[in-house]
């Protein structure tokens, strides 16, 4: 279904030269991929049926009757997949289940970006960001982009690997049916940390890490998804917007309006996810930005010139009151199930001062990974049945970046930054 080509006058069967057009992500030498992909001057000397002028009787003849090279490549990509049932629909995207035409057992998720009414300047910035970064990042703990193609009326379709087991949020929330322990948390945290490390190593800030952006593959591997708010590290002195990261996972520097920041913003989010995995509830679920700051002050400590030199000069610095920084014992009481080493790592990821916060690379060297218990093997991790997961992937991928699950409609967290700011 829905696979009719942009121009109806070309039929795939009559188009032998399409067969060697390469995929978006060839593994062979890049020196030959386009060259071989464009085998238009057919070596066998056959005429080129697809390129002949179309008979005048077919549909709207306002379009050029033939497909050019780029269009042919697009058609070829599109034909590789069969679109199946809809998994979810949101304001930003519609997600379909799909499979490879050549091998129906290989399932994929097709994320069709909607044309957005309120954004009239062409391709949506979220889609541009997502495509830009997923094209570059290939890692076992980051969702893979398998292909991109356009369907009629120029909708972008991202073909993503299919992750049928839902997301971490689902496991965290289902306290009745899902039980997990320190070893499981360690395994999940390990995969999350490697994903974030890899982004940072490639100079990409994710800027929207949260449990429902951590999807789970059939084999239990956790994959970081939704790069709709991601950006490359800025050059020195170049402004960035502070209006990113879903509120509960947003670090204090962004709440205070910092215009220059680093990978430390993602590390804070990782810390809040770590705490949430242990508590099985969001650690600091603020109702609004002021409330969020208040919760940080109460749960971790009030940012002051003492614990964070320079913080009072941040553009939107306000604190509701003075709370002392929490001591190790306080954390041990709440988060003790991950052991002393685990608590040490948690404290370091939730350092108020971003310059003192542990980096993703340092996280990977932390002793917690080596202390008992060892992380669970991914195949043995707790999971939910795939029916629920399928729907969940639809929900997760269709959502707009930067949103808490239930506020897709109302709050405009990420949206505003698309205009005028960077």
């Amino acid at each position: 279904m829905a696979l009719s080509p942009v121009v109806t006058t070309t039929s795939s069967a009559s188009n032998p030269q399409l067969e060697n057009i390469q995929t978006l992500r060839p593994v062979s030498s890049p020196l030959k991929n386009l060259a071989s992909g464009s085998g238009q001057t057919s070596s066998n000397g056959n005429p080129k049926p697809a390129l002949a002028p179309a008979p005048a009787s077919t549909t709207g003849q306002t379009l050029p009757p033939t497909l050019d090279l780029a269009e042919q490549m697009n058609e070829e990509e599109k034909r590789k997949y069969v679109k199946g049932k809809k998994l979810g629909e949101g304001t930003y995207a519609v997600v379909f289940l799909g499979h490879l035409r050549s091998n129906p057992a290989t399932r994929v998720a097709i994320k069709k970006i909607k044309v957005q009414k309120e954004y009239t300047e062409g391709m949506a910035p979220d889609a541009v960001r997502e495509l830009k970064h997923l094209q570059e990042l290939q890692h076992p703990n980051i969702i893979s982009l398998l292909s991109v193609f356009s369907s009629k009326d120029q909708n972008l379709n991202l073909v993503l690997e299919y992750l049928p087991l839902g997301d971490l949020e689902m496991l965290i929330r289902d306290t009745d049916n899902v039980r997990y322990g320190a070893a499981d948390i360690k395994a999940w945290m390990g995969m999350l940390t490697r994903a974030v490390w890899f982004c940072h190593e490639n100079f990409v800030l994710h800027r929207d890490i949260k449990p429902n952006n951590l999807l789970i593959a059939a084999d239990g591997e956790v994959k970081l998804a939704d790069f709709g708010l991601a950006r490359s590290f800025a050059d020195p002195h170049r402004h960035m917007t502070s209006n990113v990261i879903t509120r509960w996972y947003r670090p204090p520097e962004l709440l205070f309006g910092a215009r220059y920041y680093s990978g430390a913003v993602d590390v804070w989010s990782v810390g809040t996810v770590f705490a949430e995995l242990i508590l099985r509830a969001p650690y600091m679920p603020g109702n609004n930005e002021l409330d969020q700051i208040k919760m940080i002050c109460e749960s971790i400590g009030t940012p002051t010139e003492d614990n964070w030199p320079g913080v009072t000069r941040l553009p939107e610095y306000t604190v509701p009151g003075q709370h002392p920084t929490r001591g190790r014992d306080w954390y041990e009481m709440r988060f003790g199930i991950v052991g002393t080493d685990g608590v040490d790592l948690l404290i370091k990821t939730l350092a108020l001062n971003p310059q003192k916060r542990i980096t993703a690379r340092e996280m990977l060297k932390h002793r917690w990974w080596h202390s008992e218990p060892k992380p669970t093997r991914k195949d043995d991790l707790p999971r939910k049945d795939s029916g629920a997961g399928e729907d969940k992937m639809g929900m997760d991928l269709k959502r707009r970046p930067g949103m808490v699950a239930d506020e897709d409609r109302g709050a405009k967290v990420a949206r505003k930054l698309d205009f005028g700011q960077r």
Binding site: S4, V6, V7, T8, L24, P26, P30, L31, K32, N33, L34, A35, S38, G39, Q40, T41, K48, L51, A52, P53, T59, G60, Q61, T62, L63, P64, T66, D68, L69, A70, M73, N74, E121, G122, M123, P125, V128, R129, L131, K132, H133, Q135, E136, Q138, H139, S150, K152, D153, Q154, F198, E201, N202, R231, S232, D235, D418, F419, G420, Q421, R422
Partner: protein, 351 residues
């Protein structure tokens, strides 16, 4: 994932947009051939136009790249964005012919999309105001085409950061020669802002190779200093392989340098902006006017037609029976068709 080289090989710039000189040449010839095959049927058999050669196409793309650079300077876009836009433009015309899609339009679209890809959100209307007789719709009309043409690879790796790194290193190594390093920095940066964009350097070399080649043009000794010799105390065999590697690196940088030297930054003033050059481009542009694909020259009309076709296709199942039976479906679409043809006529009849 261990080395930077391995990481670069995963980038879209390497995977999709790096070529050997031979395959790049072949691609351009194929693109040119394909365009000719497509356009030729639009002309009567006895009135075939003279088509552009691949070399002429390359020349025109180069000329319009200088126009793009000038436009970006006029709009005061940051260097990286200007370069990204130029690379998008050049990549687009590897698999698309200037005879098929008008470079004057794609140039503006490249600038707009270059901004977007770099996260620099300039208002479309503001950009349109910068150009004479240009509407927002015109700039946007080519956006999807461009994205498809650049294979949805929006991340371009530039040599500028490599240069900053090299300069930091040189400052540390040569604390006594601040002036010399500063001068090399400025000159190399000027080269990087221009020469790699006017040549095929981005298609053949890595950002650091391009950076080293630019430094080589301004101060060879500095490059000698940056590319390490074998560490002392190594055994002989190790030393030999290291020397061999060093030689290989230098050979590559040297060949990149000779490419960049064909278009040193002063060529902008001394060549591309001279009235003689602009005049000498006229016959070529005229030739282009005569052989271009008139069906695709007006991107706005083309875009509207695509949208329209998409919507009519969706509606089709219901009205089809009537239309098919009474044969009026085609007729009903006719006024629109005529309108579009008229729009095409504004750009002159097929010559």
């Amino acid at each position: 994932m261990a080395t930077e080289d391995e990481r670069y090989r995963q980038s879209s710039q390497f995977r999709l947009w790096s070529f050997s000189p031979t395959s790049l040449r072949e691609l351009r010839v194929k693109t040119n051939d394909l365009a000719k095959q497509q356009i030729s049927p639009r002309f009567a058999a006895d009135a075939q136009p003279e088509f552009l050669t691949p070399a002429e196409e390359t020349m025109l793309v180069q000329f319009f790249t200088t126009e793009l650079i000038r436009a970006a300077q006029f709009c005061e876009l940051p260097t990286e964005i200007r370069s990204t836009a130029a690379v998008f433009f050049r990549r687009f015309y590897i698999t698309n012919s200037v005879m098929t899609y008008p470079p004057t339009e794609l140039l503006k679209t490249s600038l707009f999309f270059g901004c977007k890809a770099e996260g620099y959100y300039i208002r479309l209307a503001k950009l349109a105001e910068m150009f004479p007789n240009t509407t927002s719709e015109q700039i946007l009309a080519g956006e999807f085409l461009l994205c498809q043409g650049i294979r949805f690879a929006f991340d371009v790796r530039h040599p500028f950061r490599a240069l900053e790194g090299a300069i930091l290193e040189l400052r540390k190594r040569l604390p006594e020669e601040e002036g010399r390093v500063a001068k090399a920095h400025a000159m190399a940066r000027d080269i990087l802002k221009f020469s790699p964009l006017l040549t095929d350097a981005y298609f053949h070399y890595t950002p650091s190779q391009i950076m080293m080649a630019a430094l080589l043009m301004v101060d060879k000794e500095l490059v000698d200093l940056l590319i390490p010799v074998a560490p002392p105390g190594d055994d002989g065999q190790h030393e030999a392989s290291h020397a061999e590697m060093r030689e290989k690196i230098f050979k590559t940088i040297e060949s990149c340098r000779s490419m960049l030297e064909k278009e040193p930054p002063q060529r902008m003033k001394d060549h591309w902006e001279t009235p003689e050059l602009v005049k000498s481009m006229k016959p070529l542009r005229k030739k282009l006017q005569k052989c271009r694909d008139t069906d695709r020259a007006d991107l706005v009309a083309l875009q509207r037609a695509r949208r329209e076709q998409a919507t009519t296709k969706v509606k089709k199942p219901t009205p089809q029976s009537d239309g098919a039976v009474f044969g009026d479906a085609v007729e009903a679409r006719d006024p629109k068709r005529r309108k579009l043809e008229a729009a095409n006529d504004l750009f002159g009849p097929a010559l």
